[in-house]
Symmetry: C2
Amino acid sequence: MFLGCQFSIYPMSSDFIGVILHAIRALDRYKDRLEIATDDLSTTLIGPPEALFPALKESFIAAAEAGGHVVMNVSLSRGCPGEPDDPRCRTDQVRARNVAGEADPVAAALGHMQRVPPSGVKTAAQIALYPLGRIDYMDQIGACIAFTKRAGVFAKGKHFCTKLAGDAADVFQAIEQSFLGFGAPEDHVVLTAVVSKGSPSAA
Amino acid sequence: MFLGCQFSIYPMSSDFIGVILHAIRALDRYKDRLEIATDDLSTTLIGPPEALFPALKESFIAAAEAGGHVVMNVSLSRGCPGEPDDPRCRTDQVRARNVAGEADPVAAALGHMQRVPPSGVKTAAQIALYPLGRIDYMDQIGACIAFTKRAGVFAKGKHFCTKLAGDAADVFQAIEQSFLGFGAPEDHVVLTAVVSKGSPSAA
């Protein structure tokens, strides 16, 4: 199993360097559990979801502390057949939280959502799920969209993606469950997400 | 056929509103050929590739004119079975530039690349191709990566994506050929790209 993401923080501010460095420093406490590498385009995180998702959320919230408009762009991937099995990525969380084989996957996915303390950061987001290498992938996408509608974070459908809104804690939890839950545990699944805070265009 | 994208411009500047509005105004001359809709997260473009790709490139270059560090994030999609057939999207370009059935798809894709006038904007980018609903999708991804290596824009492989570098005109042309060329013409294909200019972290 290989699991990880590429993510970037875009602070709409002339002090963007300071904000990005602050957001990357928030990853420091995950250094023993995640491979972390940053270049001029993005930061790579490799490791188990139980470390990766808290790291992503805390990095976003650190960036949000600067105020103003900040966006996180993330491409998550699990099970890519072109990547080696990595002991760091071994986890029971994909299997434990996966709902692809359930009779009612939406209800099962909702059952994995926990009451999480709010972050106080109001966000808008959009996500797209890509379960690769399977003919019936649209069923998985449909179930994932139905899940977001009942998880309290759905804002609206858009072409090519689903718009979410809510506290960052709820939005990141819905992203995590969407990524782990849909597409079989052994599938190659990609989820792209844009999470935004403080846009002056927000309704 | 339904073809389009969601894209966003992220100017790392406190004058981000002015830069974004300038980049969106660059789309005006495509209004009769593309459906264009902007919300707080992204701009939707729907229409044929022969209008969509020039629009994307011109919007990025307009944003780059402001100086400093600017990123475009784009998710392109064609052939999504959940979208209606749209007369605006009808084009012979997907079939004409597709190479998925060729004996040597890399050479065929290179044959579709044209000498384009440089924009003068130096970029770094990373792309990922997702041909959906087919078991052998990794072959298409492998051929696309091999194409970027020979198209003169390859920078390096990264986990989950391929890093490109070069003049914006060459990078956008390689993105267009990757998106139209790989995965069969009737497939549902997604390509995500981040195109960056002016990062202070660039080598």
